[in-house]
């Protein structure tokens, strides 16, 4: 066990995989000599060489397209997109190729790669350094979507993603890259994909969150603990495939659900959770399902503190939900 920040845990996870498996290669902008703009890949080019930690030209299309070719050949590429906001030039490669290669080839060509990218707000990044684009990828059949919230999960989910047979979009909450630290198991630590985690037990209401939002959710639950309802907090960890059983179990137990994410609400990931409850847990619901999310606007710069969900807003939503039934 070592005490690490979340970004250090990512770095150790990458190092572990590159050390253990010669097929693991990384490619992206500024990841080599510069160690990544967030230092997630710091020291890795020095350790593993420029043939395995590849500084690429400025083209996300090229980064992902090249990684696909490497994956088809049998490597385990881990391309980095510098900010999730810049993943769109690679969208065609991801949606048309990465997601569909196994299917369209009748299983002949798996496309196992892990696209890492920092996502989310809270770093004064404005419209183009703050986005939460997970819903686009969760809606795309053939992709897995993973978002860790703690250093230990970050390393463990990353290693599981690298060794998974399917393509994984691995989104890292940059806001808590350094703000959150914790004990991380040494070595080849794995946390299974597709398994949500109840990070706080409760009986009256379930809060569903992932990534950076797990922390204000926990904070809200704590705030309410003294005199308010008993709030359960579920960290989804893998957004796709969703751990349906776990989320349904929680909502069936508590009868109330509040969903938290940074992305805009309309057709956001939270909609799927709410839809699931309306479909499969309707008769357990004692109160309307609430969503505490980013607004349906682009991500603002000066007003990001108002845009982002925070503990106070979550507390208010919990109170409203409790009052409603």
């Amino acid at each position: 066990m070592t005490e690490l920040t979340l970004v250090q845990a990512i770095n150790r996870g990458l190092q572990q995989a590159m050390h253990d498996d010669a097929d693991v290669v990384m490619l992206g902008e500024d990841i080599g000599l510069n160690g990544g703009v967030f230092r997630a890949t710091d020291g890795l080019q020095k350790e593993f060489g420029a043939e395995r930690v590849i500084d690429t030209p400025l083209s996300e299309t090229g980064i992902v397209g090249t990684a696909v070719g490497m994956a088809l050949y049998g490597l385990k590429p881990v391309p980095e997109i510098q900010f999730q906001d810049f993943i769109y030039p690679a969208f065609d490669q991801i949606v048309s190729e990465v997601a569909k290669f196994r299917y369209r080839s009748g299983g002949q060509y798996p496309c196992h790669l892990v696209i890492r990218s920092p996502y989310g707000g809270g770093v004064k990044g404005g419209l183009y350094h703050s986005q939460s684009a997970e819903a686009y990828f969760a809606h795309t059949a053939g992709l897995k979507v993973v978002i860790p919230s703690t250093p230990a999960d970050a390393k463990g989910l990353l290693l599981s993603s690298i060794y998974d047979e399917d393509p994984v979009l691995f989104f890292e909450p940059k806001r808590i890259y350094r703000a959150v630290s914790g004990e991380v198991p040494d070595g080849d630590h794995r946390v299974p994909l597709g398994v949500a985690k109840v990070v706080r037990e409760g009986t009256d209401l379930s809060l569903f969150a992932y990534g950076a939002m797990v922390h204000p959710a926990l904070q809200a639950a704590e705030t309410l603990a003294s005199d308010g309802p008993s709030v359960e907090v579920v960290d989804l960890r893998t957004l796709s495939p969703l751990d349906e059983k776990a989320v349904l179990a929680s909502v069936e137990k508590t009868g109330r659900a509040v969903i938290v994410h940074e992305a805009p609400r309309f057709c956001g990931y939270g909609a799927e959770l709410a839809a699931l409850f309306a479909e499969k847990a309707l008769f357990s619901l004692k109160a309307p399902v609430a969503r505490v999310t980013g607004y349906d606007t682009p991500f603002p710069y000066a007003l990001e503190h108002l845009y982002l969900p925070n503990a106070a807003r979550i507390v208010a939503a919990v109170r409203t939900t409790m009052a409603a039934g």
Binding site: T61, P89, S105, Q108, Y109, E165
Partner: protein
């Protein structure tokens, strides 16, 4: 072979690579099969027996010539019009025909439209429809092969229109920077559906675009089997010697429609078509073989007859095969079906058990 070398070749190149005559005869046979199969499939589509078809007539010499200059171990990244390459690779005719029918003999399980096939054991990667995406894949695979010290090249196939795609730019740039052992084989068939070559881009040739990425570009007469073979062999030798990538522009013509959904009379002249028909690559190679004393009229007739028969047999067999397993819809999305896919699968299973298949 007109050359538009963009940058000086940097590695030694074996000069005058020439295929042996017996090899050329066998390549000719492959070109004939491609031509016959192409015509047969157009008919099958018109008769409603297959759903769609992308013909490649006029591009036989370019495709077979290119494939002929490669080693079996080289990886092919095709677009949707590469029947000649597939046949040259040795992909069995029945396998291709079954794919066009999308039946239970289709190894990709009826997942894709006709022409969008691929077979791992033939190092012929499964094509998709969005143009250009395969070009980046070929570069990545070439880099992967080099990392593993496998002495192979990768070859991507694409058309004149596809030089405008994002991936053309990204892939050629990466290949230049990383000196990937990859050959970019552009079949300039003069049209991208209805857009003529000169409206696709303002450069004089497509080959000269290689200069923007710092490696050689070559224009070759794609109606000339030997010229194509030589250009590819040279590029391959250079790539394996560490000399980096090459862009080859094979100038050909799409004699047929873009696909069975297309009517070329809307946008191009009969005169243009006639002019190119006179340069038919299959007829040309026949003539060359004839002149070299390697092919008699009689042998030629036998080649055409054999091709027709083999294809007829494959079609007949394909039509007898049952359709694909309905529940296979849910396979290969992931390595394992997710719980949610299992649930959806069970739903379809119940539906089928209750009411039978809905009509197509």
């Amino acid at each position: 072979m007109a050359e538009a070398r963009a940058a000086p070749a940097e590695a030694p190149v074996a000069a005058n690579e020439e295929p042996p005559l017996s090899d050329v005869l066998s390549a000719y046979r492959t070109m004939v099969i491609a031509r016959v199969m192409d015509e047969r499939c157009l008919t099958l589509q018109r008769q409603g027996r297959i759903g769609f078809y992308v013909p490649m007539q006029g591009q036989e010499a370019a495709q077979v010539g290119c494939a002929w200059a490669l080693a079996e171990e080289d990886w092919i990244f095709p677009a949707y019009r590469e029947l000649g390459v597939a046949l040259a690779r040795g992909i069995p005719i029945p396998l291709l025909i079954n794919q066009f029918f999308g039946n239970s003999g289709d190894e990709i399980k009826g997942r894709q439209m006709p022409n969008h096939y691929g077979y791992r054991r033939f190092r012929f990667v499964t094509a998709s429809s969005p143009v250009g995406t395969q070009i980046s894949h070929a570069v990545g695979a070439a880099m992967a092969a080099r990392l593993r010290k496998d002495p192979i090249v990768t070859v991507s196939f694409f058309g004149d229109g596809t030089t405008s795609s994002n991936d053309f730019h990204a892939a050629l740039n990466f290949a230049g920077v990383f000196q990937a052992p990859s050959i970019f084989f552009c079949q300039n068939n003069q049209w991208a559906i209805s857009l003529p070559r000169e409206k696709q881009t303002r450069s004089a040739t497509l080959a000269e675009k290689a200069a923007a990425y710092g490696f050689p570009g070559v224009v070759v007469d794609g109606m000339d089997f030997r010229a194509v073979y030589r250009a590819v062999a040279e590029a391959r030798t250079r790539a394996l010697a560490g000399g980096g990538p090459t862009l080859i522009e094979a100038q050909v013509y799409r004699l047929g429609p873009h696909s069975t959904s297309d009517d070329p009379r809307r946008y191009r002249s009969d005169a243009e078509l006639a002019e190119w028909r006179d340069r038919d690559p299959v007829a040309r190679l026949k003539q060359e073989l004839h002149e070299a004393g390697a092919l008699t009229e009689e042998n030629d007739r036998a080649i055409w007859e054999a091709a027709k028969e083999e294809i007829a047999r494959a079609v007949e067999a394909a039509e007898k095969l049952p359709s694909v397993d309905p529940l296979s819809i849910f396979d290969d999305v992931y390595a394992q079906r997710t719980p949610s896919l299992e649930e959806q699968r069970a739903g379809l299973q119940r539906e089928l058990a209750a009411g039978g298949e809905p009509k197509r």
